[in-house]
Structures are given as C-alpha cells and as structure tokens.
Symmetry: D2
Subunit: 454 residues, 4 copies
C-alpha cells in the first residue's frame, strides 16, 4: 500500500491517493488533476475509483476531469440529485488491490457527507473524514443557513462520536482540509493526527453535546458568493478542462485592449509592490490569497487579466483560479508592471503605511478613519479603538458605509487583505489617500500598541 | 509543523525530516544527504539537530555528512564510545520551533538504541522507534551474538511494552525500516501505523514475554560481512563524501584495463539480460538488489566497475553502493554490454531456464542438482524435493559443497538471487551449465508443482 | 531572437522554434508538441505561425495538434490538395517580432518542398531547408517512384544550387533531419553547419549536375509501408491527440487477455534480454529502433502491447509510436517480463551468438545459413561469404525464401535488427534455432574476420 | 559531435561544451560549474580539456572548480604568469574524440587572448573568439588603460582581419559574450552568427583600420572596481567552492543581528516593491542587475545579506554573486520583507514617480534636480534638459556633487539603476525625497517628451 496526501495550497484542501497492487483510488481530487495521473504512472497502477466525501462549496471537484482521463468510477454520498457518479450508502465496501474501503455516512457538515474507512485486514488503519472531523476542529454547519444549523450541529456530533471516534484511537485521521481553509476555523497547522489524538486534544471534542451544538451555532464563518457556483458545479458536474489553460503573454498594448473590452485585472503581487505601482482599476490579491479571496470579487461572466510578480507565478495563479472555476483567463502582462510603465502607460499608487506611522498619527489627534477588514472572529479578539469594521470580502457591497471625505487607513492581519480593500476603494474612485498598513494588527500587537475589545 | 518520511529504496530505510517555524531536525539521515538540504531549502528552515536512533549495521549513517554541510548538532544514545556527536539520555528534551522531542532509551535491538517522542503540547504525536518497533514486526536481537540474544529479547520486550506502547494508542509510529529491510523479518508493506494498530495487529506483540523471547531467539537472520564495516564507520564516523562520486564512462578498452588492474565487475542488469550476454567474471546483482547483496560479495579494498541496463541507472547504482560505503567506483561501461560485444570482445552466457522446463527434467529423471539459494526462512516454508540449500550470500564461502561434475540448476524466490549465485559459480569456473530458473519458487508455487518441507 | 533546435531522437527529425519579441514560429513541429508550448511559456511568447517544409513521409506532422492548442496559423508549400493550412508561394514574407521569414520554393525531394529564410535586416541569417539540403547529404528523390527520380534529381539540384547556395556562405543551415534519418543516406552526425561548409565539404555538392543526377538515381533507400499512412495523414490532417496516450499497466493476466483479443506485442528491450526470455509471438524492436522499424511490421488496425526494460521507458516508447500514428497502445506489462514468468506463464528464448562462435562454426564446416538483414547499402560494403541477404524490413513478406530445415544465424550491423528478424522467424514458427549474433558485422569487422563483396 | 552554448544570464557570458565520442571540452567555464558535469553525465563523456580564451575581468573563471571535479586539463594563452594550467601557443592542436581544436593567438582585447578553431576534417566549422569578435561588435581595448588603447585596437584589428575572418565565411561564430555584457557595447541580441554574417553586417568590421582604431579608442566603457579582484583571481586561481553556498534563512531578529555585526543588505526586489517598503540601509539591486551592479558597491571584506522577492530567487542571487567572487553570503530574510514588518520592525520608503508626474513638475517650474545615472553612451544619445549626469556605478564616490537641500528625482533607462542610485542616496542620509522615476528615459522617449543632447 502506498499512501499520499496531496495538499492544494491556498485552499488548504487535502486529497488522497492510495494504491495497492495494481489499483489506486483517489479521494476528493482537485480539478488540476495531472498530479494523480503522475502518481499512478510512477506507481504503475490504474486509478479505479474516485471517492468524494461531499459536495464541496469552496472549490470545483476534479472527479469528472480525472474520470475523463482514466475512466475511474466516481462515488459519492446519498440524498442529492447528482448529475454524475454513483451513490454509496453507509456500509458499502469497495476493494482496491488488497485494501478494503468502507463507506461511512457521516452527515452534519452537509447531509450527504461521507467518510471512508480503509483497512487491510479487518482492523481500520485510515479514515477519510471529509469536512466532518479536522485536526483540531470540526466542520462548519452553516451551509444550509441558520435555521438548519442547530440540527446539523447535533447530527455532526453524532456522526463524529458514534461513527468516527468509535473506529479506535489508533486510526489515522485524513481530513479534507488543513489549516487556513475557509471550511474550518481553527484547524491545526499539523497534518498528522489520529482518532486518539483528536479525542484527547481537539478542543471541540471535549464539549458535551449541548455545548458542542451551542459552540457550533455561535461560530461565525464567511460565505463567499462563489460558493453558489461551486455547489452548482459539484452537483451537476463542472465543465471539462482537458488541460490547464495557458493564458498568453500580452504586451501592454494588447493588455490594454482586453481591459477596454471589459476584462478585470487581478494584480497578484505583494502589497508593497502593488503600492509602489499598479494599473488603475486592478484588484490587489496576493498570489497565495487567490484561492480564498478571488471568489469574493470576481464574477463568472467576465474575462480575467493577470499582473504577476514574475513569470514563474503564472502556473500557480492559473491553478488557483481554475480550482474556483475561473477558466476565462485571457492573458497576463508580459514583462510585468515594468513593461507597462516602460511603455509610457500611466500607473497608480496605493498609500503604504507602517504601524509606527499610524500610531503616531492617531496619537497626534489627526483625523484618521481606521478601516479594519479582518473577519469577525479576528475583530473580536481585539482591534484599534474607533476603527470601523467591514470584512474585506464584503467591502465591495458595503461601500456606502465608507465616507469619501476622510483619510482612510486600512488594517487587516498583516496587510494583504488591507491591500485588497484599498484596491476596492481605489476602483470605486475613493481619492488616492487610502493607506494599507504593512504588518497591520500583527505588527501592532508585537509593538504593544493599545487594543480594545467590543 | 511539516513531516516527511524519506525512504531509501532497496535498504528499505526510513529517515525523517520534521520542521517547525524556522528549524528542522533529521532522524537517521542517509549518507547521500542532499535530499534533506533540498527539503530545508524548500521549507526555508535551518537543520538544527540530527538524531540517530542507533548505530546502524546495514548502512553508513549520514549524520557527519549532513552536519558538515549544515553545522547541525548530532545526537545519539548512551553506552558507546562514539567518535562524534553528543550522547543523549532517557528523558532529555530538545526543541525545534514549537516542537518538543523527548529522548526515550529503548534498548534491545542494541544497547544504545533510542526512540524519540515528538509533541507539540504535552501530548505525544509521533514516535521514532528506530529498530525497536516496526510496522508488523520488532527489531532483531541477534546483533551481539547468540549468547546475548535471550537477554536482549527481554530488554526489547520491556522497551516496547513499558516505554513505547505506554505512549498511547493514538501516537503515530515512525520506525527506521519498512518492508524488505534486512533488519526485520516480516515488516509490513504498509508504512502508516500507530501504537494502537500495532498493539492490536502486530503478531509479535500478541505474545507473552516468554513467548516473545523464545520467538525472537529462534528467529534466523542473515548477517552479511559488510555489517562489520558499517558498525566501525557508524561508531567512529565514516569518511566524508562531500558530494556523490560521478564514475566516468569507460570505453570497452578502458573498462578492460581497469579489470586487468583488479577491479571487480558488478553487472546490475536483470537476469534474462545477464543470461543473454555478460562479461566473464562479473557478479550479477540486479539494480534493486545492490543494497542487500553487494555487501555479501564486494570487499572494501577493491575498485568497482559497473555494467548497467541504461545510463539512467548510474545514479541509483552509485547511491546504493555509497550507502554501503563502497565509494571506490572507478567507472561504468559506456554504451552498456552492447559496446562490449560491438568491440569484438568476448562475452559469456548464463543458462536460463523456466519452471516448466525444470519440472520436465526432474520428471524425466534427468540428473539435475537443484541449488536453492533462498534464506533459511524461505527454505523452511517449502522447497523442491532433493534440492541443496545454501543461502546466496554464503555461497562464495561454501563452494566446496557444490560438485563440479553435475548439472546445476539454481532457484531462489524469483530468479534474482539465483542469477547472483550462478554468477558466483561462473566466476569460480564451474562449467557453463548452471542455470538460473526465471520465476523460481514463485512460479513453481503458482504452477502448483510439488514442494516438500523439512 | 531565440533559436532552438528540437531533435526527435530515433526519427532524427529536427524541428525549430524561433522567437522574437512576443512572437514565435515553429518549423515542422512533431506530434507530441508540448515541447513547443513549454518553450513558448518559458520565453513568454505566443506561437503565431507554423511552417511546414513539406508533406513528410516518415512521421505524423504535429501542425494541427499544435495549432489546436495555440491557434497558430499553418503554412505549407504549393501544388498539393492540403486538407488544412494555407499555401505559401516562393517569395512570400512573414513577420515574427522583428524577424522576417521568406518562403523559398525548393522542390526536388517532393514537389511542394519549401525552404524558409530567416533574416533580421535584409541579410539572411538562417535557412530551414527541410529535406532539400542536409549536413553532408541531400534529400531523397525516390518518393514519387523510379520514373520520376531523374527529373526530381535535376529539380533538386537546381533548387539547391540556384536558390539555397546563392543565399551566401555565411548563412546557417537548419535541415529537417540529422544522422540516422531514413530520409537521407549519409547525413553527418554533426548538426552545426552553414552554406559555406556544405558548399566546400558536402560530397554530393561537389558533383556536376549530371553526376549529381546519376548519383541520386542510383541510390537505394528503403520505403517502409507506413509511409503511405503518413502521406495520407500529413496531406489530410492527422487525428488530434489532445494529449499523449497513457497506456495502463497490465498484470500478466490482463496482458494475456489483450493478446488473445488480437493485440500485437512489441518487446522494446535489448537483444540479450529478449534472447534471455520473451513472450511467444513478440516482435523484438529495441527502444531506439521503434521510430525506424515499428513502421515495417505494425499495422494500423491492430492494438499494441508493450514489454519494456523499465517503467521509465514507457513515455519514450509511446512518443515513438505516436509519432508514427500508432495511437492504439492498449497497455504495457506491469513489472516487465519478470512479472510474466513469476506468474508461471511460459517464456520463449531466442538463440544468441557471438561473432567468435559464428566464425568457429563456419570454419568447422557446420551447415549454417547466415541471414544478413542489413540494407542494400550496408550489404554492398561487404558481407560474410555465402550469406543470404534480405533486409529486415522486408523479411516478413519474403519468408518463403528462407528454408525451415536449416540452422539459421542472423546478422545485421550490431545485432538489433537481427533480433527483430529472429523474432519474425520465431513468430512464423521457425524452429527455435535462429540465432542473433550480438555485435554482428561491427564486431566481425573489428575482429578482422573475412568479408566479401558482391 | 554535440555542441552546447551555456549562457550565464545577467553576465551575458557564453561558455561552450563540445563533445565527440567519449570526450568533451569546455570553453570558458563559469564558476557554478555543475552544468557541465550534468551535460557530461547525460552525454556519457569525460571532460578532458578546459580552454580559456583570456583572463576574464568580469567574472570568476570556473576552470579550477571544474578541473577539481573532473581532473580536466586547463589551457590558456601566452604571456601571463598564470598560477595554474598550461600555456598554449598559436597553432597548437588538441584532439577531442574525432575533433581537432587549433589554438589561434588573437590578442587585442588583452595580450594573451586566444581563439580556438574546431574542425572535424581539415575545414574549420566553429571558432571560439572569446572577447575578440562578438556578434555585431568587437572586444574592448581599454583594459590596459588609455595609453595602451590605440596599440591594442590595432592589434585587435589585425587579429580579427588576419586570423579570424580568414577562416572563411562559413565558419560559425562562438564568442564569449552576448547582448548586455559589460565587455561590449553593442553586441547583438541574436546569438547565431558566422564569419560571413559578421564580415557583411558587423558595423565595426566595415571600418578601415584607421577608423577602427579611432572608433575603439573613442568608445567609453565603464570599469567597475571588482574587475581588479577578478583579474587577480583569474590569474592566480580563485578559491575553490566545492559546491554552491546555501545561505540560511534568517528570521528578522537574526537578520538584524547580522546587520549589526556589519553585514551589508542587498535588496534584489523590483523598484516598485523596494519603493513600497525596504530595510533602512539596503542597496536596491534588482535580481537580474546583480551581475552588472553588485561589483560597483559591494566590497569583498563584508558579509552580505539578501532580501528577495520570493524564495525561488535565492539560487539565482547566490549564483550571480558567487560568479563575481562574493562568496560570503550569511543569509537571506526568511519570509521576505513581509516578515520584517510583521515583526514590528521599522521600514523605509523610496519615492516613486512616473514620467508624467516628472514632466508636470518640470513644466510647472518646480525646483527639481533630475539626476541621470545612465552611462555616458546613453547620456550622449539624449537626456532631460538641465539634468545632472553621474553614472550609477560611480555615484557612491561622487556624492559630494549632489546637493542635500534639493528635491532629487532620479532617472536611468527604465528605473532599475535609478532605484540603486536612490538607495545609495538614502544610505548616505539624503532626506527621504529622492524619487525613482519608473520607466525613466524609456517611458519619457515613448511619451515624446522633450530631450536634449550635449
């Protein structure tokens, strides 16, 4: 048996490749699926089955893509009107080489959520828990809306305590997400865990059922608009890629033409570089932030243009967007921002600031509107007194809450989302005074500057 | 925390790279250690510590090599007069980023054997057990000789049951070897396990202490002569490589000159190819067999020449030999065996046979000496009636037991070691009639041909 | 400007990638065309044009494949009823960045053959001569049959002397083939040349027009049957691949089933390995011989199975076959020939011999039929007295010339084609006595054994 | 014969690897020489000889490094008191496989400058001209100072016209540098050329001997201070690396400590990113500018710290510095500039401007000191009226010419060297008002803004 965890950075999504003898199975494949084909080639196996743990909301599932290349059979959980694949039920057993995979219906995160238990003999060795149980946390229960949340929390509790934990302490845990995922709040940065470790250390599992439900219902999770598209895609089956798109390099002139035809510009450079010079109208989303933030501001109807730090980032940027279903990338700026200004095209700046400067301005009584764009959980743990709180993802739809006549300084955790927020304000025509505070609340806290809580 | 298992194929040796924040530790590094340097570069960490679980017998430990390139500090267990590094004692704690590594003295395989327990908070997550506990088996206790074996078996039992199993079922097991290692008999082909899985499924752990001792003492393990060199190297510190040797390509003429100067030829091709044509005097050791079998026939004083299936095999062959301390590889045959015979140089053949042919000859009453070169454990599980049993590794020193006047047909498990054995007989001047049975006892068994047990 | 020669080994076919500013052109792309896509990505250019020098006979042109992925425009020469692309005429100019490519109609090898002259300013720098002018040789003129040959030879002479050589001695030569191609007899092993070097050193260019024509007409070239399929494909447009096929690994059982369904087995191992053990009915075509010899024995209607030396050869074998249009590869033997005989399946041998042994047998007066399967040119330069000459490619259709009652020993240049020939005889049921002489006429000549000429 | 041009980007240095049969030669190897080892491995050859065309000034020659790993013999030209290798004289012939390399003494650039002519038969095919003849230009003759320049120019003319051009138009040209090298002014961006093309198109070769000398003597070339160290190294033999240094990742705290111990910080990010935020005291040298500009400001006694755009740039930055002999790189900032400001450490900005903004300020009569840091040749082709001209490389030693009380705006060709210049002023304590004009004179020219000539 060979076992590989394939991490999709940014999404913090885990898929799994397991093989035995001449057969392999993939759990929750991503859409850019050549990684599984390559593993299968290396191990000289045939991918026989694809198992989905649930209809994912945060990315396009790659089952159909992979099945198209390998003819592997696709399986998922019961209760949905799937447009592809075969439904499994609790207790169904599949065989891969000398391995046995048993389906475990573990609803809670969603109704059709499945876990899969892998064994060589009778004793289970690994369990793939999808979004039911993570390392250090459990899945969200807010997907069906607040009315359903308490019921789902209870269902999730039962799935975890009655079906997963009972597999035994020695079973190795293989969840669908790691730290940084939008599908969990406090997932551990460590990937290695077991039922025993979670039973002992996972803080949520230390609660009574009542407390568990209350805790889960009171949690706040953001829900980016692109989730709707993902749910539709993953239920019906997303469009086939065949291969990753290769956006062409565009000269500044060609780039400008595409802008004029309506393409939206995503600048994936770092905030200091974006601040230093960018194309008017660009969204600032740092490369590793694309999986989590592109889905808040990009719409599926528009074509996309990329500005990158360096050519080597193209492949990553494309993967990140394609995983969210943004296939329509019409090109990237050849030679980067330098090519733009070398051609005499106009550039725009974004104000950059430091925590020391912000502190000084606040202390001096200057009129500064501090806009804090972190999420609700971060905000609640402490913020600058007098700051206005709007989550970066929601900023575009709440612009009317932001005055146009004040000097705006934006903070987030380290300055990345503040840069996105600043780019949104710049696009909306706010005068060129909105500052991204580099280091933001992280540097603020390290500097021991004062914070308040609601 | 990032955790990587690095498998050295052939040796079936596991080393581990773990990092947290900006620091990393390597457990039991191999000698061709650029793999750890590359991981450290990729994760942007500094290798701070190197931990050895024990003085290995089966390969040259890479601690000094790696330390030379990284200045990492080396640690190992107590009771030996080490020529390098620092001795740790039971309970000693080291820190890597936010991780805690606790030394656990777990003697039994050897006196100084250590395990290392990794935890983030107080609760252990991973345990590195060296040669104490494997997936599905436990370590050898024959290293100090038969007199010491019973005592060591008891010590090992106590180390496992009192120190390792007590860490808790949920702790993930990270042993020093996987399936195929000469350091364990029945190690599982699966790498993933936990204390809980071993407690429940490891057959040796189901025994009482008495039965455990009896079982271990009765086990038979081979002990290749190169172990002595490894023990010396690993105690005193092996010679520094600096970088992997790059043996030059040699024309047939140059190759022949080196042979005449005393170099020994290792032919790393498959048995059918070796049978089809080879250079007189070559040892036949298939590529993946080098780690386990080179140490039986090669001496450290002589230079080595290689004949390879294809150029791409050179790197692997060199690594395999260097891991056993065979650094003196003076070249390889450019263009392979074809270059040799294209130059008009003479070739030699090895007889090849099939199980069907062997069966027929035996049935017809032909005088055939079947030489079975598998190890004692394999032999005991069933063999061809009337076969002579000498383990391939010991063949060279037991040649006098083999008559020169009979037709010899050699079997092993699949035909690899039979080819080595045949090459030994050919080198020793046995007439060119010794046959390697392709498929050997595996094909014999599948064909339902009759077998006997002692 | 960036210039790359892409060599397709085995076919000895050259394609060229040239880019300037943000645009690129590819000349004579091969069908596995991701190499050009990768270059375009690396250089951040868009492939704008594809130029074909002529309708190739020896491989499937990759223009449509590449155009499908890049939308590049395809151009070729006049006079054929092409199923795709646009016809260029002598003197037509295209621009790529700051480069100028001028079409030069240079018929002779075929009627529509084009050369392309690349210049930055007015002065030419490079010329792409297709199959008109090679390094050290010129193109074949036998493609339209013997009646047309004299006329074509004259046309070729004029194209070379009046259109190509007049470009100037300093122009760098970029032909469509290098040494080893079936499209030229004596192409130099060196790729670098210029008009000046060829004018001075190319032996064919030293002849008068009359001698040139006579020389070309008297040349003998083989014409494998797959040429017809290539001509059809390259005229009409071959089927799209989309991506390289990935033949699945097959267990011996599955492999056998495919054989029983009619698949033909190609064993791409070396002759000694094939001799040592192979599956009954296999063709022996060594890996690097696939481009030149698969087209003689494989038909397009049948599925193909592969036996490989090692897994790493799969990609190469697939490319080699796909370049000839053999897309229907249903799988390869997982674990190689060893898996076959380990499963108890029967194997077959091929006799292997050495030149020393053959010499001895001939000297001793033994009845040996020496079958020489080299091509006519090689045969004419000297052979073993009394040998029967049938070219390996034609053997299958000339079996009736070979007696079934004699001991047959086969020679070629080094033993590769002899192995193919032996496998053909074995397939045809010749008794298991046909020997491949390893080293063949190369070793024979080096050994100073006697040869004769017709 | 296999021929490879190895381009060292940034330096625009060409080295060459040529092999025939089982032997290879390397011409002008660079110091990070594993590229040649890898080629030799791939082609299965032994590097037998290393030829140097001259004692280079602009980089550390890698002969000793490569010879140390391969035992290849080193050769160079006559007249210098070399600390290693063997001197060749005009006409000396060496053999590599079936190739013949003839030494040609072609002084002019320096006294010991050699060319090497490669032939298979009698006729030359390639010529390696070192710094004598480039594509589109010829070598500098100012290395021995202005007194020697006229004499050297004449010598160079004779070497080119009497020794190189006489080889024949068809010979392929292989010079030591391509476009962008500090060793030539107007080398073509195209690498492919021949004697014939140069004879016809190289503008310098169209001059009479008198005009040639006058032209060469009147040329202006910069001469960075590190040239002296290179000349010493390349004469005596530079220190051995063994392998490329691997600078450790440093946390901001560790980085700061090294700064306090005296290390100099090189920030290799782009100007907009450097402008957006950087560490006080850093030199701004964009990644691809390291080979040409590090040698102007870095001294050999000090340790070096790196700030990089992304981790992937480390390898390139290290190579670039090591090629100039800067081996003492003590580390790089882990996590980049973000880690610095996230830790609450203070950052500094550099003013960034656009040509539109500069134009507006100049038009409005604002007091702006425009500092133009391009080289003399660029300056002479046109500049902004009233600008002060000091070449970036010389800025640090001419600071007293720059007033501290004026607003300074810096231009170069595109903004890279302006950023270096601005960082020099910031280091020197100029108030934080010095602006780097992004796009600089390139954008200025494209925008049709007015320029003047001296």
């Amino acid at each position: 048996m060979i076992f590989k965890r394939i991490k999709s950075e940014g999404l913090a999504q885990n898929s799994y490749f397991i093989c035995s003898e001449d057969e392999a199975v993939v759990i929750d494949p991503r859409r850019d699926c050549e990684v599984y084909i390559d593993l299968a080639k290396r191990e000289e196996v045939k991918i026989k089955y694809i198992f989905e743990t649930h209809r994912n909301e945060d990315y396009v599932i790659g089952s159909i893509e992979l099945s198209n290349l390998t003819r592997a059979e696709i399986f998922h959980g019961p209760g949905l009107n799937w447009g592809y694949g075969t439904i499994l039920h609790n207790g169904n057993v599949s065989h891969i080489g000398n391995l046995k995979l048993t389906a475990l219906h573990t609803p809670g995160h969603t109704g059709e959520s499945m876990s899969y238990v892998l064994a060589e003999s009778e004793e289970p060795v690994l369990v793939f828990t999808g979004d039911a149980l993570f390392v250090g946390d459990v899945g969200r229960i807010d997907i069906y809306g607040p009315e359903e949340a308490p019921r789902l929390a209870g269902v999730l509790y039962d799935s975890i305590f009655n079906k997963i934990l009972t597999l035994g302490d020695g079973v190795i845990l293989c969840p669908a997400h790691g730290a940084g995922s939008v599908c969990g709040g406090k997932i551990s940065a460590r990937d290695e865990s077991t039922i025993g470790i979670e039973r002992a250390q996972n803080p949520v599992l230390q609660l009574s059922k009542e407390d568990f439900i209350e805790h889960k219902v009171s949690e706040h999770h953001e829900r980016p608009p692109y989730f709707r598209q993902m749910e539709k895609y993953n239920l019906e089956g997303p469009p086939l890629l065949g291969r990753l798109p290769i956006p062409p390099p565009l000269t500044p002139e060609m780039f400008k033409e595409e802008m004029e035809r309506g393409a939206v510009v995503v600048d994936a450079r770092t905030p200091p570089a974006f601040g230093g010079a960018h194309i008017k109208g660009s969204y600032s989303i740092w490369l590793e932030g694309l999986p989590a933030y592109a889905g808040w501001v990009l719409t599926y109807g528009k074509t996309i243009l990329l500005v990158l730090e360096c050519r080597d980032h193209l492949d990553k940027a494309v993967r990140y967007l394609v995983r969210l279903g943004y296939d329509n990338i019409v090109g990237y700026l050849r030679g980067g921002i330098e090519a733009w200004y070398d051609s005499g095209f106009r550039i725009e700046y974004m104000g950059l600031s430091s925590v020391h400067n912000l502190k000084q301005r606040l202390d001096s009584g200057e009129d500064v509107l501090v806009l804090d764009v972190r999420d609700e959980n971060e905000w609640k743990e402490g913020h600058i007194k007098g700051a206005l709180h709007i989550y970066a993802g929601q900023l575009e739809s709440r612009l009317r809450e932001i005055p146009r006549d004040r000097s705006i300084t934006i903070v987030c955790n380290v300055g990345h989302r503040a840069s996105l927020a600043a780019s949104i304000l710049l696009r909306a025509g706010y005068p060129n005074v909105c500052c991204d505070v580099l280091g933001s609340m992280t540097a603020w806290r390290v500097s021991n500057f004062p914070m308040t809580k609601e």
